[in-house]
């Protein structure tokens, strides 16, 4: 029994080490499968990956100017969502859905709205000053402001 416990702990430590190396090595600037956009009035030009993760998990809820962050997701089948989840959240779409099920059914929070497509995300971002979303690289983002991810 003790050997089994030691094995599990070793796996945790090994994976943590590998994860740390990968985290340091990753550069999601200009991620190939998605593009981040915010409302045109938002002064932000770039955000870091950790900020995005906290915003989309609603752990951080305010922009630096205290405006409410309003993240928008796309449907689970969206290629942009898969790319965003893998590159930024470092979890599969299914794992992210599981996280939100935990939040919803324990009364701890509500997920970002799941919008149908790029056009709906752009519309959402244009209408809400604190909004942030991701779209396909080739999407028409007229009225919204693309930002970088570092």
């Amino acid at each position: 029994m003790r050997a089994t416990r030691a094995l599990v702990l070793s796996a945790v430590l090994l994976s943590a080490t590998l994860g740390g190396m990968s985290s340091r090595g990753a550069d999601v600037r200009g991620g190939s499968g998605y593009r981040m956009i915010v409302n045109a009035s938002n002064p932000v030009e770039t955000v870091d990956r950790r900020f995005l993760t906290e915003a989309f998990f609603k752990k951080t809820t305010r922009w630096p100017n205290d405006l409410l962050i309003r993240p928008a997701d796309q449907s689970t089948d969206s290629p942009a969502r898969r790319a965003f989840s893998d590159d930024v959240l470092r979890r599969s779409v299914a794992a992210v859905k599981s996280y939100w099920q935990q939040m919803v059914f324990s009364g701890r929070g509500l997920p970002p709205p799941e919008l149908d497509d790029d056009a709906d995300v752009v519309k959402f971002v244009v209408r809400n000053p604190g909004a942030i979303g991701y779209v396909s690289p080739g999407a028409n983002v007229a009225g919204a402001k693309p930002i970088g991810v570092r």
Binding site: A16, S23, A94, K97, F105, R108
Partner: protein
């Protein structure tokens, strides 16, 4: 129609009314500034089956049983940017527990002043360990039964929620990561009949309890470490059948408990391990029947889950539990050590049929019978098979 079935009827009516009157979320989702706060409605329904090779575990499993049902329905509304209200109705049946009695699983008024400080009043889920606040929610995890050493189903009625207040927050620590904390205090109303208490027990009361969970989200993406602490007072009264006549008994416990937690979530991989101890200090007015003093239970587990495909996620865990580790002289009274321990090796396959429906199958190999209570004839080595399906939205 049985009383339990009658209790379900109003519950169903609430569901129909909720679905009929819930505002379409899309109006708010697209940022209509004139729209009223949307009411979010979510629900789940589960049905399970359990069969054990020996021993009745949680339900009448030795003969096979379908007494494993759950239903939940919640409403949440973000009334202002910082103010949210919500309520979840929940009913379940697990052997002698629950019996479909619908109750408010949680309800709250929540005001989030800052990211690092929010306050909440009402009945909230108990933050204890990684998963206590989601242990009712089949869709939110891979195993059907979470490791019972840390998340015993028999405690679900009265150790999952507390009525009172809480503070919580998410503190950004810069390069050191972040601290996610939650602390609650209050009381827990308990109905002895709904927790499967023996008939000799006439009242159970938890007049106060306090608990806190502090999770450090480390700079390593997906790795978090935590500690949970809990203290509660438990008062019980009952009447025992003794010779020459019945004896009134009053028991007063103070329980201190702590859990250490590690979780690593990376893409489709989840690894979790927890270890906990509970120390109970008993005072009573019948020490000849219930020896006073302290006992310590301990347990822990290690779990690995990996999503192989969009629709298939296997998981395995090993869980161990040791009851009354510090019995001292009383240890001589134990008939066998098997009554004092329970090892559990479990494997699960979770099938996500679609975004709203899952099916799980699970097998356990058990050694020891500590979670069964005092059953002198219990088989020390036994197996348990479960299948469960859940629909949710």
């Amino acid at each position: 129609m049985t009383p339990s079935r009658r209790r379900l009827l109003p519950y169903s009516s609430v569901l129909v009314a909720a679905l009929a009157f819930a505002r379409p979320a899309a109006a708010l989702d697209l940022g209509d500034p004139e729209s009223a706060p949307a009411l979010e409605v979510h629900a789940f329904v589960s049905q399970g089956y359990a069969k054990s090779t020996d021993n009745d575990y949680l339900l009448h499993s030795s003969k096979g049983s379908f007494e494993m049902s759950e239903a939940g329905l919640n409403f949440t509304s973000q009334l202002t940017e910082r103010f949210r209200v919500g309520i979840q109705l929940f009913a379940y049946d697990l052997g002698t527990l629950g019996n479909y009695a619908a109750r408010a699983d949680w309800f709250y008024l929540d005001y989030r002043l800052k990211d690092w400080l929010g306050v909440r009043a009402g009945r909230t889920k108990l933050p204890f360990g990684l998963y206590s606040d989601v242990s009712d929610i089949d869709a939110a995890r891979t195993p059907i039964l979470l490791p019972q050493s840390i998340y015993p189903q028999t405690n679900r009625y009265f150790l999952l929620g507390v009525t009172g207040g809480s503070v919580y927050g998410y503190v950004n620590l810069g390069r050191a990561g972040a601290l996610d904390y939650r602390a609650v205090g209050g009381a827990i109303p308990v109905n002895p009949a709904q927790i499967g208490a023996p008939p000799e027990l006439s009242s159970i009361d938890i007049p106060y309890m306090a608990a806190g969970r502090f999770m450090w989200e480390t700079p390593v993406s997906g790795l978090r470490l935590g500690v949970s602490l809990l203290v509660l007072k438990l008062n019980e009264t009952g009447v025992l059948s003794t010779t020459p006549g019945p004896t009134n008994v009053s028991l007063n416990d103070v329980v201190y408990s702590a859990i250490g937690s590690v979780e690593y979530a990376w893409h489709d991989l989840l690894i979790a391990a927890e270890y906990g101890q509970a120390r109970s200090v008993l005072h009573d007015d019948q020490p000849a029947l219930f020896p006073q003093g302290a006992t310590v239970d301990a347990g822990g587990y290690g779990l690995v889950a990996y999503r192989l495909t969009k629709w298939l996620q296997p998981s395995v865990y090993y869980s161990f539990f040791a009851a009354n580790r510090n019995l001292g002289d009383q240890a001589a009274n134990m008939t066998t050590n098997d009554e004092n321990i329970q090892d559990d090796v479990a494997g699960t396959l979770r099938f996500d049929v679609n975004n709203f429906w899952i099916v799980k199958v699970e097998g356990h190999y058990m050694h020891g019978t500590a979670a069964l209570g005092a059953v002198p004839t219990a088989a020390p080595n036994w197996g348990l098979f479960l299948i469960k399906t859940t629909a949710y939205f």
